[in-house]
């Protein structure tokens, strides 16, 4: 059973566009929600994370929106650049538990 459901599987946008990646979860015990960015041939790297006591967190061009009642969270990339082309994973974990990852979204930003 997939603990965290991520969509879309792939996404293509033009430079300057705002790609949005969505994730949903069922386990209300989850209280930490990170996003990871992975470039080809590299390990995933932590991009940004949020806790359920806030509805939005912004770091540079990356923003997480969190909807606790809907059990959904999303990643927005403002003014996307070709260098943002990568695979993005959402994840969630309960207190003192392990991370459950979504299946990933392959983002391509065309110049």
């Amino acid at each position: 059973q997939q603990q965290v459901k991520q969509s879309p599987q792939s996404l293509i946008v033009q430079k300057g566009g705002i790609p949005i990646i969505n994730c949903a979860y069922e386990n209300t015990a989850f209280d930490y929600f990170p996003w990871y960015q992975q470039f080809p041939g590299k390990g995933p790297a932590l991009l940004i994370a949020i806790r359920p006591d806030v509805s939005e967190k912004k770091e540079g061009r990356f923003t997480i929106s969190f909807n606790k009642s809907a059990k959904q969270f999303s990643l927005h990339i403002m003014d996307s650049q070709p260098g943002d082309s990568a695979t993005y994973f959402c994840a969630a974990c309960p207190p003192l538990g392990r991370l459950y990852f979504g299946r990933g979204t392959q983002l391509t930003v065309w110049p």
Binding site: K42, G43, P44, A45, L46, F89, P95, R98, G104
Partner: protein
């Protein structure tokens, strides 16, 4: 600061040969350690995780095993590789306490031929 080392970066092994991938973490004590596999263009599959020396939990029964002989060392092994064992293997760690995201190693690209 903490660092994670994973080697080798690439490996080509014949079917039926043994495997040993090593991962070490520096700059922290008592980390949680994880082994993931990623098939081409696919997601992250958790293989094993460890919360302490000698403590290994397996997520997926398969041709692989893991060991943690020292606090900051995590080893992934196989006695006889299968073609289906090909993939990108990632080691990761996080703090035992607190909600810190995982830090991944640079990965090992394994091709079984």
């Amino acid at each position: 600061s903490q660092t994670i080392h994973q080697w080798p970066a690439t490996l080509v092994q014949p079917v039926g040969s043994p495997l040993s991938l090593e991962c070490t973490v520096e700059g922290t004590s008592n980390p949680n350690l994880y082994w993931y596999r990623q098939a081409a263009g696919r997601g992250l599959q958790l293989l094993f995780y460890s919360v302490g020396i000698g403590q290994i939990s397996s997520e997926v029964p398969q041709n692989l095993s893991a060991s943690r002989p020292q606090d900051r060392q995590f080893i992934l092994s196989s006695k006889k590789l299968l073609l289906s064992d090909s993939g990108f293997y990632l080691c990761a760690w996080n703090f035992r306490r607190g909600h810190y995201g995982y830090t991944f190693g640079s990965g090992t690209r394994l091709t079984v031929v």
